[in-house]
Amino acid sequence: MNKYLHDFPLLCEKDEKGRRLAYLDNAATTQKPQSVLDAVMEYYQKSNANPHRGIYDLSMKATNVMESSRERIRSFIGAEKTDEIIFTKSATESLNLVAQSYGMSVLHPGDRIVLAVSEHHSNLVPWQIVAKAREAELVYLYTDKLARIIPEEIEEKINERTKIVAVAQASNVTGVINPVERIIERAHQVGAVVVVDGTQSVPHMAVNVSSMNADFFAFSAHKMLGPMGFGVLYGKEELLREMPPFLYGGDMIEYVEEQASTYAPLPEKFEGGTQNVGGAVGLSAAMDYLDKAGMENVRAGEKELTSYLMDQLHSVPHLRILGPDDPQERIGVVSFVMEDAHPHDIATILNADGIAVRSGHHCAQPFLCRLGVTATCRASLYLYNTEEDIDRLAKSLKNVRRWLNVGVR
């Protein structure tokens, strides 16, 4: 029995056939432990008021909860200063903030933005928009047969004209862990800043943004046991201080006159509007849960389970895994395709057996195009998954082609 499973009420539910859901779509969102649900409820039951506004005690309490959550988040990702932690609604918003505020201010015609071809649309489309507006060039780091960034691409493409490099620490399609330290080192050599999308990495491995030396780092709460609707942007203080605000309105101003305004200091400058304090509380509780489990243990356990998943998938005829087998090179996000079976049909057939996987292009169309497929099935693990989940997946996959009436004659 997995020691975390009993903390997750949704995963302990049984369906009408007496089965637990084999939830293997953790790269899309994760389930929440009771401690996170309790923390959010307790906030709304005992501390809810609009932070930073009221003079009364409850508002002060809400402010304290919000700011202690910020501190909790800072320590989890190893940022140096609490002011470097900006609250957003999602990793997508965090990345848009960097693109619109930083990108628009620093880019000039002919400058270069370098992205990994494997980026999620949220770390790709915002840069297309900025590149077009500023007449900058968008250049991609391409991947090899196993979907890993080709090392030579880093030296070649990140050149003196490069101002921004945007790359995910781990791919949401193949699970490949990208060499972010090397990319950051190269980018800094040429004076570029690096925007790291940590959405898939922070939940699954110990991350320290300071030792990594990332300039910006984005992630979201709901992919790491926290609630939806809450994201984080880390940015180096000296960069954030120089950047213009992204969302204008309440809570982010200093003085407002009829014709002009001045803005609040960090981090409020980037937090226009009432923030999702319940979300911040939920993420803090999720970080407490993960720290108690120990991120090293989470990673070690997932590596082991990923190996098991790879072995089981390799035992399914006509199935091909995209990306490397070695769990050292990847997280537990595994995309695969099956001959003569479309991913949507596979996902429908697995669903009938109480197994949840994702099928489609995973918001990374240029990457899928590069990999030569239009869609894949993706199974993605988290700390509460079991070998039994994977056994059920493999067993169900072996029936897919029979259901579709292919290869039976």
Partner: protein, 149 residues
């Protein structure tokens, strides 16, 4: 919902049918249909003479449901008038939306009735209706072209 109600022999056979998977020479209309979220991507080509659909071709790729639906549709509309094709599209969409439930009325859809159970699978409805929406678009395009003449 049982899998056997969806992946019937009719559906799996049609999904692999090559009958209409050949591009037409000089089609009168060509329309692309895409389900952006899942990657179903088809092209419908029609050859029309005197208001009658002489040939229909379906190109592209997608899941078994979308491909079966498309080949059944191509079979069904060949030899029909554009007005009849429009009526069939409305009927099919009505069946999937459950606004048309009378089995007698649905008989006109012939083999396409095999996709009726998709109406109980919200996640797959868009796969089944893709080719039919594409057909509607193609018929509108033909009409527009006619009117501008």
């Amino acid at each position: 919902m049982e899998l056997g109600d969806i992946y019937t022999e009719v559906v799996t056979e049609y999904s692999r049918s090559q009958k209409h998977r050949h591009p037409l020479e000089h089609p009168d209309v060509k329309v692309r249909g895409v389900n952006p979220s899942c990657g179903d991507d088809i092209s419908l080509e029609l050859k029309v003479k005197d208001g009658n659909i002489e040939n229909a071709a379906i190109l592209g790729s997608g899941c078994a449901i979308s491909q079966a639906s498309a080949s059944i549709m191509a079979d069904l509309i060949e030899g029909k008038s554009t007005a009849e094709a429009k009526h069939l599209a409305e009927l099919f969409l009505g069946m999937i939306r459950k606004t048309v439930t009378d089995e007698k009325e649905l008989e006109e859809l012939e083999d396409a009735v095999a996709l009726k159970n998709i109406s109980n699978m919200p996640a797959r409805v868009k796969c089944a209706v893709l080719s039919w929406h594409t057909l509607e678009e193609a018929l509108d395009k033909l009409k527009d072209a006619e009117e501008s003449h």
